[in-house]
Symmetry: C3
Subunit: 153 residues, 3 copies
């Protein structure tokens, strides 16, 4: 049998002013604010909302359910998650997917993994960290699971 | 000097019915069962065998030596490994590469890393986990190295 | 608004003899030694220097500030880092980015994350490890953060 082959693209994306993209990328049905940079080998899914002045670096994946504020830096190879497999397998129904909200001026290090959580403003997530819980205090967090390393004033 | 430039593609792959692929992908000399989905920016190498009803999400890499059962979900940015560098460097000889077997209904979270192991049916691997040992009891495993978090009935 | 769309490519790269590349890749303003292999979905940035007889596997990202010796193996999905967000956000000024030096015969496992460090010759970094400190003793290191697992004679 021959498979059905589709291709990545930029489809139905609402862009602010002065956005730069390095293709290939797969962006669809999402909103990307002004003055953002989107690196190559990235995917941003349906209903994602990204604010202004953000950098989404190469190899990152932002799933449905994620909202990112202004002035955020998403490093290389960062993966967001909207399904925690709580029932022992994928939820199946997209209405069961969980949401992630990233505040303003949040910097996420490369290869970090972000489970469905809320992260407040002025947070740094270390490279390679796995964020499993909400973060409500400005600081630097790292490790698997991520824990507070240092407060940010 | 000019380098030798090759390109990715879909070469000598045996597909079941109703497979969907989002290109670009690099698939070669492997078998992919019916009703599977293969996301973009993925690579699946020689002699990999994937069963029916599986999803291989974007950015994942499945190396030679890996066999995946039916009804499995491989998240985004998941990396399989077939060489544990036991001699302090790559084995060199492909006959020394080690095998990985993934059972049925196994769900592997995004950015997880799977060393050469056997994983039984009905297992969840948490996002960002590093699986270093065989798993023979159905459950949810997470962390680096991955440990049992909760049994699945 | 329409974004500015650029595309990846191979621009201003100094290659040694007998280099093999599997496109798509994004390589610019860097030096790659003889007899190297560069896998697909990789990015190698400005001023990176890679020695001879190295393999840079698929999905890896090597940032400005990284120097890699001879006979090194960089696994799949490995991310290097040049900014530790010490000020609670990206440094902004590239002159503040930090350097990483990888010795000879270093093997880095897939999905590993390498903060700005120096790693001596004959080191193995386990798959999924996060290297946060200099390594000056030949051995196998793994975990998040990576620690010494076993010495290599």
């Amino acid at each position: 049998m021959q498979p059905i082959k589709k291709s990545i693209g930029i489809v139905n994306v609402s862009f602010g002013d002065d956005v730069q993209i390095v293709q290939p990328v797969n962006l669809y049905d999402c909103t990307i604010g002004s003055n953002c940079f989107i690196g190559p080998f990235t995917e941003i899914q349906r209903d994602v909302f990204i604010g202004n002045n953000c950098r989404i670096q190469s190899h990152s994946f932002i799933c449905t359910g994620v909202t990112i504020g202004n002035g955020c830096f998403i490093g290389h190879g960062v993966m967001f998650v909207n399904d925690d497999f709580k029932i022992g397998k994928p939820a199946g129904d997209p209405t069961l997917w969980k949401k992630t909200t990233i505040g303003n001026h949040v910097s996420i290090g490369s290869n970090a993994t972000i489970l469905p959580v809320n992260i407040c403003d002025h947070v740094v997530i270390g490279a390679g960290a796995v964020v499993t819980k909400d973060i409500s205090i400005a600081g630097i967090y790292a490790g698997n699971p991520a824990i507070l390393i240092r407060l940010l004033a």
